[in-house]
């Protein structure tokens, strides 16, 4: 496994490069869908493209821009002040000094499962939240690792990255849905265009692209999410220079079988340990890399300091 080799700097640039490739692949997928639509249904179908992208943009943009307040409401997180937990604030301040980021808002989620998340559209609006349980079971170094992982999401602008991925995947889903409907109703009086382009192979390929595109988009979206998680682990080590802290924290999460009560699909990807990716779920569809893999990579970093 090439990913488990190397120090945090190499891992950071590798994961950044992979995110870029995956986003480019998503762009190519949009292009393929548009091209398939043009082949199968004629040139006038390109008029749907701005509509689909527009719908996707509006629906995702709102949840990106208001991510801090929206996620807080959905997870029941409550903002706390320094007096409520001075040690936690000390740790957050430590990570802020290590990362050069501003102090984020800190929130607590009443939950019996250990977990944490970060949200907010930019570092100025960042919120990092912890369940009451994670604060009970983690020691100082482990909690520092968890905070560094969350602050890495803030530093790497992962709310933005996942919003871009969600917009593109959404646009592809809407686009292929609309096109499939049009196909069922026999096109929009666009016969002339279609007659000119009767290469049967091109038509079959186009149909396959239109059918498979939404699934491919979801796979690309979850792959991006997994790369951002690996990147956040590597960036966390860049901040703390202590892979053992985060590694022990992940081991504690692995040994704990409880899952956060709130299991909404919409916010599953933001937690440090996914509440949805069970054993039965294929790795391809999960928003996080398996904990064993993340722990192995961190162990390798312990063996390869700088």
């Amino acid at each position: 496994m090439s990913e488990s080799a190397g120090n945090f700097r190499q891992l950071q640039s590798a994961n950044r490069r992979k995110t870029f490739t995956l986003l480019a692949a998503m762009g190519a997928l949009v292009w393929a869908v548009v091209f398939a639509a043009m082949t199968y249904l004629g040139k006038s179908t390109t008029a749907i493209v701005p509509i689909a992208v527009g719908i996707a943009l509006i629906s995702v943009w709102g949840s990106y821009y208001f991510s801090d307040s929206l996620v807080m409401t959905m997870t029941g997180a409550r903002i706390i002040e320094r007096e409520d937990n001075p040690t936690l604030f000390n740790l957050v301040e430590e990570v802020c000094l290590a990362s050069g980021l501003k102090l984020p808002k800190v929130a607590i989620v009443e939950d019996t499962a250990p977990n944490a998340f970060a949200t907010g559209r930019n570092p100025e609006h960042a919120v990092i939240a912890f369940t009451t349980r994670i604060l009970q079971i983690m020691d100082r170094d482990e909690l520092q690792g968890v905070i560094a992982h969350e602050m890495s999401h803030v530093a790497n602008r992962d709310t933005l990255v996942s919003a871009v991925a969600a917009t593109t995947a959404g646009a592809i889903a809407i686009l292929s849905d609309m096109l499939m409907r049009i196909m069922f109703f026999g096109g929009m009086g666009d016969r002339d265009d279609r007659e000119n382009n009767q290469n049967p192979l091109a038509i079959v390929v186009s149909l396959v692209v239109l059918i498979l595109a939404p699934i491919a988009a979801v796979l690309l979206k979850t792959a991006i999410s997994r790369k951002r998680e690996s990147l956040a682990d590597a960036t966390a080590v860049a901040f703390t220079r202590n892979p053992a802290g985060l590694r022990r924290a992940l081991e504690k999460l692995q040994n704990d079988t409880t899952v956060v009560a709130q299991k909404s699909n919409a916010v599953a990807h933001i937690w440090i340990e996914s509440p949805l990716d069970g054993k039965g779920v294929s790795k391809l569809f999960s928003s996080h890399p398996p904990l064993e893999e993340r722990i192995a990579i961190l162990r390798n970093m312990e063996a390869n300091p700088l």
Binding site: P86, T87, N90, L91, E93, E94, V95, L97, A98, S99, G100, R140, Q144, F239, R241
Partner: protein, 184 residues
């Protein structure tokens, strides 16, 4: 007309390139300044904590005079140190002295159990971490600055931006040095 079409965009690109390089050098220099200021803030916080700590240890272990004195002297040196190298050296000595003091505290169960001492210990460990992270962030900023100063093409604008390579903040850590050498 044709030459103008060719020359004007070319000039524009060069101007933009100069501005971008100049700004990135100046920006790297400012962030190194800020990072150093942050180290000083954290060192000040630590210096402010020490009198309290010394007092609370004295209450239980007054006869550990040499350890207490070492901390007080190191603190005095640290608060008067100037320049990156001077501050770093004094900082290293104080860190060592504080470790000695906390090691002494280990053998006084009453002291270790006192709430005042526990609160101080948390404050001290977070401040030690903050000092360490502030140093690390400063060194990262200096690495970026020095890279820009020494590599082509940004090195062309060093004189124009009035920036220069800086020294890293290196703390002498005697415990690292005395670590036993493993030989096979």
């Amino acid at each position: 007309m044709k030459t103008a079409l060719l020359v004007i965009p070319l000039l524009l690109i060069i101007v933009i390139w100069v501005v971008v390089s100049y700004n990135s050098l100046v920006r790297a220099n400012i962030s190194a300044d800020e990072a150093f200021a942050q180290i000083e803030v954290q060192l000040k916080r630590r210096a402010d904590l020490i009198p309290n700590l010394v007092e609370s240890v004295k209450g239980y272990a007054a006869h550990e005079k040499s350890t207490l004195d070492a901390v007080i002297t190191a603190r005095a040196k640290a608060t008067s140190a100037t320049g990156v190298a001077g501050v770093a050296a004094a900082d290293g000595q104080l860190t060592t002295a504080l470790r000695g003091l906390l090691a002494v505290a280990e053998s006084y169960p009453d002291l270790k159990a006192s709430t005042n001492f526990l609160a101080l210990q948390e404050e001290l460990s977070t401040t030690e971490n903050k000092v360490a992270f502030a140093r690390q962030f400063y060194n990262d900023s200096v690495r970026k600055l020095n890279q820009a100063v020494k590599t082509f093409p940004s090195s062309l604008f060093v004189g124009l931006a009035k920036v220069s390579a800086r020294a890293f903040y290196e703390v002498e850590n005697p415990t690292d040095r005395n670590a036993p050498q493993i030989k096979f």
